[in-house]
């Protein structure tokens, strides 16, 4: 049961990153990619009907985490208090500025709101990457199972780290570049004209940056937390995840060059999936490692809810998520095709 719920929560996180990832990426990109108002409207219209549905994955994932692993939820959310509050504020600002700009047609206000939307999107991608890196690096858990992290200490991933250190900053940059690339690929599917060309052209430099950062981050991860490789050595066939990472990266490049944006976008989804699944597998069965002593790790067995809770949960979860996926597919099919430039 623990194994199943570990991966169900992982699925929710991957779902969130893959889906909200592209609209965050579009938020970053539109800051410097669009040249006029009609292009900007087309770009924003490409995410208009779906962005709030994408954010639902965050809520549903948070709720699932809460009931499957209450201790992890309690400890991590109170321990990451300050950065989480900043994330919440950014989510509020981002959602409202996107909504508002569609209702206000005064140029200066729109420019201000667009800037806010772009900056909030950028900071969110960095925070998400840093958050994952924090989980991999571990946190200074105390004997009572709680911790509280300052924003930074000496920028070293030691036993008393901060939210930000050199390792988590790398994580933030990987997420920024990966999701911006993801957004560029989405745009090359959803918009047309000059803006589509620019979106496709920007893929190449982003891709090179992502390749470099991916290599650096994998090396850094092994350096910061060598235990991440244990499961892989134990089950060597799972190194297939690294093959998946490399293959999907190559596929993004190839399919983008050959003008097959849908395939390139799906390859980018696969890349995000392999990166996240690889990290989860490296951690398993630890949910949140302790930098203080590995005996204080929050592990699957210690944090999981009772059997009955989870058995009942499995029934409605599978049923509910099947419905949810059906809605999501339905909406994406209904809105398939290019978002029109406004007349």
């Amino acid at each position: 049961m623990g194994f199943i719920w570990f991966w169900l929560v992982a699925v929710m996180i991957v779902g969130y990153v893959v889906l909200d990832g592209f609209d965050l990426g579009v938020g970053v990109l539109h800051l410097f990619l669009v040249r006029n108002e009609s292009e900007r409207q087309a770009v924003l219209r490409s995410i208009g009907p779906v962005w709030d549905g994408n954010e639902v994955w965050l809520l549903a994932g948070g709720g699932t985490l809460y009931f499957a692993f209450p201790w992890l939820y309690a400890s991590a959310f109170s321990g990451f208090y300050l950065p989480l509050m900043i994330v919440l504020w950014l989510l509020v600002l981002r959602g409202v500025s996107l909504e508002l700009r569609n209702h206000i047609d005064v140029g200066v206000w729109r420019t201000l709101l667009d800037g806010l939307f772009g900056i909030a999107s950028t900071l969110l991608t960095i925070f998400y990457g840093a958050a994952l890196a924090n989980v991999i690096r571990g946190v200074p858990l105390r004997a009572d199972g709680y911790f509280f992290l300052p924003l930074w200490t000496n920028w070293q991933p030691g036993p008393q780290p901060g939210i930000l250190d050199w390792y988590t900053v790398i994580g933030g940059l990987v997420a920024l570049v990966a999701l911006t690339l993801h957004g560029a690929l989405w745009l090359s599917i959803k918009v047309s004209g000059d803006i589509e060309l620019r979106a496709r052209r920007i893929v190449n430099p982003l891709w090179s940056a992502l390749l470099g950062l991916t290599i650096v981050s994998l090396i850094a991860t092994v350096a910061v937390r060598p235990q991440m490789l244990q499961n892989y050595y134990h089950y060597p066939f799972t190194f297939i995840v690294t093959v998946g990472v490399v293959a999907s990266l190559v596929a993004i490049r190839v399919w983008n060059q050959s003008g097959q944006p849908v395939k390139a976008f799906l390859a980018s989804c696969a890349f995000l999936f392999f990166m996240l699944a690889g990290a989860c597998w490296g951690l398993y069965p630890t949910l949140l490692p302790a930098t203080t002593s590995s005996s204080l790790d929050i592990t699957l067995d210690r944090a999981i809810s009772g059997h009955h809770t989870l058995a009942v949960g499995l029934v409605w979860w599978l049923f509910g998520m099947a419905l949810a996926v059906a809605y999501v597919v339905f909406v994406y099919v209904r809105f398939r095709g290019k978002a029109e430039l406004s007349h």
Binding site: M85, G95, L100, F148, W317, V331
Partner: protein, 450 residues
């Protein structure tokens, strides 16, 4: 201030602000279905345009509800970690179900409803409205189930220091939750009706959009009259009796009953004085409270004197005022809607300016009543976080100091002040724009480099 107080204010402030939006969207969702259904059955383009107008209002409120709702789910963990760890096995369940069952439904079909008009058939468009309604009402249900478990814990067992669900269906069908759900959703319909009526009255007083204003008023006065009666009887009545039975301290605080008595009198107004244990300046009606709770004027009502002082509701006067404000406004809603419905029936509502003014000015009142109702429920539960099981003082995050909590509380206050301002501007624009076709979107020209 102590960390406990700050964490309580933190949750109370963010959830109160948040609930301003869902109470309208849940109420409007029903009204939009009514408008869409009439449009579909009669083929009337006016009713269809009316539903589009309210769809836009719904959309804005939905976005504000989403962005202020995300912090709510996080705050269980960030500010109430000890509570979350203890109770996640139980209330994590309805919270996760809300995300899985209602948010996906609501957001997917709202996207279709708002953006898909030209891509959908009429029937499909109507169907999206129904699904949005279903999603938003399900969402309310799961939240009420969560709160109901904190008010009246059922179907749980303590396993190695935390709570687990014993019966999934008993948790979902907690009687407390069912009463509270009916009462609460009726409250949301009242908010929706009063807002729709106010916009209709505004247009008639301004003498524009007349045919739409009449549609708004017909729909909202009929719905509003039904809802404002149902909220008192049976939903309020049932809920109140259940509270009196299971939370006598809350009921005593709400009604200001310091001394147990048979033939207890109902306090219409007054100020509870905790020091003397009396109501100052009371206006009372003899025997009525006993009758309302037990159906006979002779029954005994438990007063605070029978309840140990450390189990008294912690903010007694606030509880008393909240409850009385809610009940007083509820009376006004029935009166106003009865008069409006009578005039509507006689064909005079659209020209009776006095009543139109009253409808226009009354739109904030359901927001106040709903807020006061929730304050009654949550203050009445104090000093318990989970009634009888966990005290509020044992539930907040021990790792988050008072200073950090105050910092983020002030942050939210500033941010939400800004949101409130922006929301007001948006609503003003939408209502001012009315139902005239939009002027060809005036595109500002930014031509950097093109």
């Amino acid at each position: 201030m102590s960390a406990e107080i700050i964490h309580r204010l933190h949750f109370a402030f963010t959830v109160t602000f948040h609930y301003l939006f869902p109470q309208l969207t849940m109420g409007l969702a029903l009204l939009i279905v009514v408008l869409k259904t009439v449009a579909l059955r009669t083929g009337s383009p006016d009713w269809d345009r009316a539903s589009h107008f309210w769809g836009r209002i719904f959309g804005i409120n939905f976005v504000f509800g989403v962005v202020t709702g995300i912090p709510m789910e996080f705050e269980f963990g960030t500010n109430w970690a000890r509570f979350a760890r203890l109770s996640g096995g139980v209330i994590g369940q309805p919270l996760a179900m809300e995300g899985v069952f209602s948010f996906f439904l609501e957001s997917a079909f709202l996207g279709l409803f708002l953006y898909g008009g030209s891509r959908l058939s009429k029937r499909m468009h109507w169907f999206s409205a129904v699904m949005v309604f279903l999603g938003s009402w399900l969402s309310g249900f799961f939240i009420i189930v969560t709160d109901a478990w904190m008010q009246h814990p059922v179907a749980y067992a303590e396993v190695s220091g935390h709570y687990e669900v014993l019966s999934f269906w008993q948790l979902l069908l907690n009687p407390w939750g069912l009463f509270q759900y009916m009462h609460n959703m009726t409250g949301a319909v009242i908010t929706g009706s009063f807002v729709m009526a106010a916009v209709g009255a505004f247009y008639l007083l301004e003498d524009r959009n007349r045919q739409f204003a009449q549609i708004f008023l017909k729909t909202s006065v009929v719905t509003g009259l039904i809802a404002s009666m149902v909220i008192i009887f049976p939903t309020g009545d049932l809920h109140g009796k259940y509270v009196a039975h299971h939370q006598p301290a809350a009921m005593a605080g709400m009604e200001g009953v310091f001394k147990s008595e048979t033939g207890a009198s109902l306090v219409l107004m007054g100020q509870p004085n905790e020091e003397t244990g009396e109501i100052d300046n009371p206006i009372v009606v003899n025997d009525v409270l006993s009758f309302l709770i037990y159906g006979t004027t002779k029954a005994e009502v438990t007063g605070l004197d029978r309840i140990p002082h450390d189990q008294w509701p912690t903010a007694l006067p606030l509880l008393f005022y909240s409850y009385h404000i809610m009940a007083g406004l509820g009376t006004w809603f029935v009166l106003l809607m009865m008069v409006s419905a009578f005039l509507l029936w006689r064909g005079k509502l659209f020209s009776t300016h006095g009543v139109l003014w009253a409808l226009l000015l009354s739109f904030p009142l359901p927001y106040i009543a709903n807020t006061a109702g929730w304050m009654t429920a949550e203050l009445g539960r104090q000093p318990w976080l989970i009634y009888g099981l966990m005290r509020t003082s044992a539930g907040y995050s021990s790792m988050v100091s008072a200073g950090n909590g105050l910092f983020t509380l002030l942050g939210f206050m500033g941010l939400y002040a800004l949101l409130g301002l922006l929301f007001t501007v948006l609503m003003y624009r939408e209502i001012d724009q009315g139902l005239e076709p939009r002027p060809a979107a005036a595109e500002p020209v930014h031509s950097a480099g093109m």
